[in-house]
Amino acid sequence: MTIGGHKPGRTLARTRYPRIPRLWLIPICAAVLTATPAWAQEPSGVFRMERLNALVLVVVFTLAILWFLRRAVKGAKLYVRPLPGVSAVDEAVGRATEMGRPVVFIPGTGDLDEIQTIAGLSVLGRVAHVTARYTTPLRVPVLYPLPMAAAKETVREAYIDEGMADHLTPETVQYVAGESFSYSARVGGMMIREKPAAAIYMGQFRAESLLIAEVGQSTGAIQIAGTAEPDQLPFFIAACDYTLIGEELYAASAYLSGEPRLLGSLKGQDLMKVLIALVVLVGVIFVTLGYGTEWWEALLQAQ
């Protein structure tokens, strides 16, 4: 079973990074301007000059994403490296369908102003389509009211899309508690009683990560986690079968969909990673040799 008809690791088309000489010039020019003290210290005007370096980064990033997106829409072939954790989402939902047991999905324990929660809800949208298609029970316990409203809408749209709106119950998406330990106790109790076949945790997690994941582990559920919180990653790695680390969480939705436009944005992200790695490498060499330490600080400092 695949979600969105996308097979992991498949070459969507030829793997080739294009040459974009002009984009390389933008950060270099901006870096020179930003590192000039007169510009950086300018207090007046409608634009915060001290944030020019961040603006340049945003502009270059947006251009890179739009450029790859355009290529993807035109049919250029993009390769996406396989992510075992994302591929396992299919396997987990399939297992729950075969066993007739529910899938538990937790879109993190952050509020809706946290981008990780949005990423979690995006994956929830994909998972809800599959659970609706195969009439697999889905449980989405939520910590805060705003993500609950968003999760309800996400799941409802997915079920309507699959023509399964009548399979939705008030228990599918429910607000549980506004406090993380109460939430952990409630989710743990639910897992022990309902024995889900699959548990998917995608989003921002804090101390409750291990409280939930260990209980899920004890019920024998196949567990997939994804978070960008470095402090919680070791807990998920110890307790879950698959863990999406950092950026993989944000890529999961695009990867699951297989949509060229979303995959194009991943390639833009990769390009930025290469650029930043180069800047860091060159910066390390210069600072180690004792050249332009203040210049590099001014370039990379967030204001």
Binding site: L124, Y175, A185, R193, L211, G268
Partner: protein, 207 residues
């Protein structure tokens, strides 16, 4: 229009925040402050949705004779007593709400937090089994860090605390920085996808 409206709202809100971050001036600051105030108000009203969801789910369980209805009954009683005491007598120090919080809820939360110690032990047991070379390296590193962080560590071997500090400050920080840079780019990419309306799956569209 129903599907476009949330995308338009996301775009406008995203652009507004970007302008507020890079811009300066009374209008920009005022609009950004106003948007954040709206967010707080919306979140406050959303709490009513949450309480409504809890009551609806557990009332339904009671009404239909669900096997776990006793838990639902306890939850609804607690919700009514806590909420009612706060509304009727206030939430200040020495009130009924304060007593219920300090003497019942806080100890229960502490209990849940202390359960974490047992879960860490069971998770560590699984993680630190030396099944292959990499697991053995992880085990060895963990032993050095744990021994180096306790006073007895330096009596076992005087350099253990230094080794532990080096592991935490050099390889561990390097890995964390890599993860943080990747995650920050991923977050920025995700935000751009949402602002530009490319990513709509959080609305249940395009599955």
């Amino acid at each position: 229009m129903k599907s476009r409206l949330p995308v338009i709202v996301a775009f406008l809100a995203g652009v507004l925040m970007i302008v507020a971050f890079f811009g300066r001036g009374a209008v920009v600051d005022r609009v950004a402050e106003e948007a954040l105030a709206w967010q707080t108000i919306v979140a406050g009203f959303a709490l009513l949705l949450g309480v409504g969801s809890i009551v609806r789910v557990h009332w339904h369980r009671l009404a239909t004779g669900h096997p776990d209805r006793i838990y639902s009954l306890v939850l609804l009683i607690c919700l009514t007593v806590m909420g009612g005491s706060g509304v009727l007598f206030g939430i200040g120090s020495g009130t009924l709400f304060d007593s219920l919080f300090e003497r019942i809820q806080a100890p229960m939360m502490s209990t849940m937090f202390s359960v974490l110690a047992f879960f860490i032990a069971s998770a560590a047991y699984r993680a630190f089994r030396a099944r292959n070379v990499l697991s053995a390296i992880l085990l060895l590193t963990a032993v050095i860090v744990m021994l180096g962080r306790i006073p007895m560590g330096q009596y076992i071997y005087h350099a253990l605390p230094d080794w532990a500090n080096w592991i935490m400050m050099v390889p561990s920080v390097a890995v964390q920085r890599g993860i943080i840079i990747g995650a920050a780019l991923g977050a920025a990419s995700m935000a751009l996808r949402v602002i530009l309306g490319i990513e709509r799956t959080y609305l249940g569209q395009g599955g």
